[in-house]
Amino acid sequence: MIALQICVVVAIYAAFRVVFEKNTLRKLPFLNVVSFAVSGIIVLIIPQPLALLAAGAYLIGTALGSNAIASTLAGDEEG
C-alpha cells in the first residue's frame, strides 16, 4: 500500500513540475515521469497478470508519443 502512495505522490509532483517548467522541451521528461508513475499505479491496483501487459502497452505507447512530440519540436526549432 505504501508503494501505491509513493507512486501517486511522484505522479502529482511530476505533474506540477510539468506545469511550472518554463522551457517546453524540459516539460517532456517530467511527462515521462508521470507516465512511469501511472503505469506503476496500474500494476499496483490490479492483482492480475494481465495488468502487466496493459501497463507495458501504456508505457511503450506514451514513451512513443512523448518522443514524437520532442523530435518534432526539435526539428521545428532548427529549421
Binding site: 516539460k27 517532456l28 511527462l31 499505479i41 490490479i46 496493459a54 505507447g61 512523448s66 518534432t72
Partner: protein, 75 residues
Amino acid sequence: MNELVVIGAGSIVLIGAVMAITVRDRYQKLIYLSLIVAGVMPFLAEKGYLDVLTVISLIVPISTFFILLACRRNV
C-alpha cells in the same frame, strides 16, 4: 480504491484540462493532452477495464502523431 489515488488522478486530469485550455502554444497543448490521458488511466484500471486501457494506450500515440502532422505546418 484508495482515496489518495482518486484525488491524485483527478487533480492530474483537472490540471491538464485547465492548462490545455489556457495555454496558447501548440506543442504545450499536446503535452497537456497527454497529461489528461495519463490521469484517466487509474480510473480505468480501478474498474478492471484492462482491454479498454490497452486499446486506449495503443490509439493515443497514433492520434498524437496525426495531430503533430496537422500542427507542424505554419498556417
